[in-house]
């Protein structure tokens, strides 16, 4: 395996002996995850079509999609990008900075949510929902659009 040492910085050749089996297996996993995501997506669509959309259920489904997406990301990074077979330290230098995203996301969305509250209450002075909000009715089954 080491007949093609890439550069002298490398002391042993990384292992690439694994056949294409892992690749195809990952492909199948990714496909299955995507199909599940689609099913959930359609489920959300159908909930929205119902008379009284159940907000908690939708939220739960959306949470599931997020987790599935992270799983997909894990397989792409770990198998397709071979990060899984790198040296542990290297993996950590990639993963740890990505942890910054946690606070990045929380803080941004949190503030976004609070802008909504400010808008809806005119800075806490009164209920100030825009007209469109009051008429939040069920979307129609066929669309009012023609190409």
């Amino acid at each position: 395996m080491s007949q093609h040492t890439i550069s002298p910085e490398i002391t042993f050749a990384p292992d690439h002996s694994g056949g294409t089996k892992a690749i195809w297996r990952t492909f199948i996993i990714l496909s299955v995850l995507t199909v599940i995501e689609l099913i959930i997506g359609l489920a959300i669509y159908n909930i929205h079509k119902g008379e009284h959309p159940n907000a908690t259920l939708v939220l739960g489904f959306k949470g599931m999609v997020c987790i599935l997406t992270l799983a997909k990301a894990y397989y792409i990074v770990s198998v397709f990008m071979h990060l899984g077979s790198e040296v542990r330290n290297f993996i950590m230098t990639i993963i740890v900075p990505l942890a910054l995203f946690i606070w990045f996301i929380i803080a941004f969305l949190w503030d976004g949510e609070s802008w909504k509250n400010l808008r809806n209450t005119n800075g806490g002075s009164r209920e100030y929902k825009p007209a469109t909000e009051q008429q939040h009715v069920v979307p129609a089954k066929t669309e009012g659009k023609k190409d």
């Binding site: 002298p8 910054l100 803080a107 941004f108 503030d111 949510e113 609070s114 802008w115």
Partner: protein
């Protein structure tokens, strides 16, 4: 021994063939212009940075004239500024353009590119024992993207409607609406494009610095043996690589809002009597994006100065730096925290109070590693045998300014106090001292210390001492009284205070500050003169290691060629701070550990 050395010779230089080629046929272009030698690129960054510093400093002199003498006219201003200073009176629009460009130029072009661009390029390969950067090609591109950014930014000064004038933070909607301000017309587009180029430059540089430090260290140079300068530059590069992209996103979105009619940052706007169709965006979102970069940017500016000050303090105290691991650890903590605290710049934007309180906690946490660093520097001086070289003086000045400016950060990080002090002169005083002047002091310390290595000559000492003393006294005279203006609630970025009952009593003080600012600026010109004069006429360096320092750069020839070491790269056997150990004044890093040596590190 020799076999080891020869393998790592190749190791530390993944492209050794390229380097040998370069030695043989170097033309003027390949040696001085499109050079791939990290030392030449460092000098290019430095000289471009110095030119920018003169420009940025000169801007401040002009707008300080307006602030100091709001009633007077200066006919010569019309000669240089044309319609922006009709009758010698600065136009408010151009006043704001100058303020904006002063900030942009000094923060990005001088203290980011000019500071870490110079010293990361110069010191990383030399101090870790590498022949060059990991990718000299990208390194060269990094400079030329910076150059391109400079050209675009300069060109924005000459457009009819003037350069960007919305403050260096370019908050939309002001910066997004051409109708809201003249500077938000074409000048703003040029600003954004220039910054995009600049971000590419800093990215190319940063990736190179990180990879070089990780992959190219010479044999024996473990991470914990690296000089603190390298650690600082490493963290700086990490900050840059992870935070600049977020500014890039913000800049791209802003460009779209300006030119394609999108609604990223715009909603519910009536400008110049027109109702804009944009809806759903948020102006504050840009501030989040901006400060996600903007806060790490503060440390991008400050960390290299910290690193160099640590190194220079240790060398000239003839003592090891106190608490090496604590220093590294606190820089690491600062790096992490820098990413978590951005919204403390936004306490008065209607930020969610609970979110704000988390930001207060995280922000004030930064004070702990900063305090550790200060105490460690003080202890490094304690019981030393101190030589006051110009570099050392600037390093001491850096510590003094860092203390002064850092302590006022405790006021501003505490949200309840920030409400009162936000956007007043208190803020100006705070960040000018802690990240403006202090970083400049770090930069000057670095220049004075490594100038002999860069050019093979010394700077003139007398001029250097004059430079130091006028600058530190001037800096305190300028910025110390500003705290009082801030405590009186005097807002920043005002063209004229004379119509305000609450602020007009500071007219005399403003005049005094302007006067000192001009003197300090003149003395910087003295330094610039010293810098260029000494390249050609300075006293020649006659010894390899003039400061008797331990680090590897002083083991190269006085004027190292491309490749740094003519023979093998020295192997490292110890950390960089064996000063005063076992009765020896200093023990360079490439000296093997003797049997009788006491154990430490």
């Amino acid at each position: 021994m020799s076999s080891v050395a020869s393998t790592h010779d190749v190791v530390s230089h993944g492209h050794s063939d390229a380097h040998h080629e370069h030695h043989h046929h170097e033309t003027f272009i390949s040696k001085y212009v499109f050079s791939m030698d990290h030392k030449m690129i460092a000098k290019q960054f430095l000289i471009t940075g110095i030119i920018w510093a003169i420009i940025g400093g000169f801007f401040s002199v002009i707008f300080r004239l307006q602030l100091g003498y709001p009633e007077s006219t200066f006919p010569w201003l019309e000669d240089i500024l044309g319609h922006w200073a009709k009758g010698g009176k600065l136009h408010p629009e151009f006043y704001y353009a100058l303020v904006t460009m002063h900030g942009t130029v000094l923060v990005f072009f001088v203290l980011t590119a000019g500071l870490s661009g110079t010293f990361a390029n110069f010191l990383i390969p030399l101090q870790i024992g590498a022949r060059d950067m990991a990718s000299p090609m990208l390194n060269m591109l990094s400079y030329w993207f910076f150059f391109l950014a400079s050209i675009i930014m300069v060109s924005s000064l000459f457009v009819q409607t003037g350069p960007a004038s919305g403050g260096w933070t370019i908050y939309p909607p002001l910066s997004a609406l051409g109708d809201a301000s003249l500077g938000s017309k074409i000048g703003m587009d040029l600003w954004l494009v220039a910054m995009a180029m600049f971000i590419v430059s800093s990215l190319l540089g940063g990736l190179n610095y990180i990879t070089t430090i990780l992959n190219m260290r010479t044999k024996g140079m473990s991470m914990t043996r690296m000089p603190l300068t390298i650690w600082a530059l490493f963290f700086t590069a990490v900050l840059g690589v992870l935070s600049f992209p977020v500014l890039l996103s913000g800049a791209i979105l802003l460009l779209f809002d300006r030119n394609l009619g999108t609604s990223f940052f715009l909603s519910d706007i009536i400008v110049a009597g027109k109702i804009l169709p944009n809806e759903g965006g948020s102006a504050i979102l840009f501030q989040h994006l901006f400060w996600f970069l903007g806060h790490p940017e503060v440390y991008i500016i400050l960390l290299p100065a910290m690193g160099m000050a640590s190194e220079i303090l240790s060398v000239n105290s003839r003592k090891p730096i106190f608490g090496y691991m604590a220093m590294v650890g606190s820089m690491f903590a600062i790096t992490i925290l820098a990413f978590l605290v951005w919204a403390h710049h936004m306490f008065v934007t209607g930020l969610n109070p609970f979110l704000g309180s988390v930001f207060v906690l995280l922000t004030l946490l930064i004070a702990v590693p900063s305090a550790i660093k200060v105490f460690n520097w003080l202890t490094t001086l304690w019981k030393g045998n101190i030589r006051f070289t110009p570099g050392m003086l600037f390093a001491i000045g850096f510590v003094s300014l860092f203390i002064s400016g850092g302590l006022t950060g405790i006021f501003l990080g505490n949200s309840a106090l920030d409400i009162h002090l936000h956007d007043t002169y208190f803020v100006i005083a705070h960040f000018h001292i802690v990240m403006g002047v202090a970083s400049f002091f770090g930069m000057f310390a670095g220049i004075y210390h490594w100038y002999p290595k860069m050019f093979g000559t010394y700077l003139n000492n007398t001029l250097a001492y004059i430079h130091f003393w006028v600058t530190i006294i001037g800096a305190y005279l300028i910025f110390w009284p500003m705290h009082y203006e801030g405590l009186a609630g005097m807002p920043r970025r005002y063209y004229d205070y004379s119509n305000w009952e609450s602020f007009k009593m500071f007219g005399g003080l403003n005049e005094f500050i302007s006067l000192v600012a001009m003197i300090v600026f003149a003395v910087q010109l003295l330094f610039v003169f010293n810098f260029f004069y000494s390249i050609f006429k300075g006293r020649k360096v006659t010894t390899k290691n003039p400061w008797e320092a331990n680090t590897l750069e002083w083991t190269t020839p006085i004027r190292p060629g491309h490749g740094n070491w003519p023979g093998e790269i020295p192997e490292v056997h110890r950390w960089a701070y064996d000063y005063a150990k076992d009765g020896k004044d200093f023990i360079p890093q490439d000296v093997p550990v003797g049997d009788d040596e006491s154990k430490h590190h």
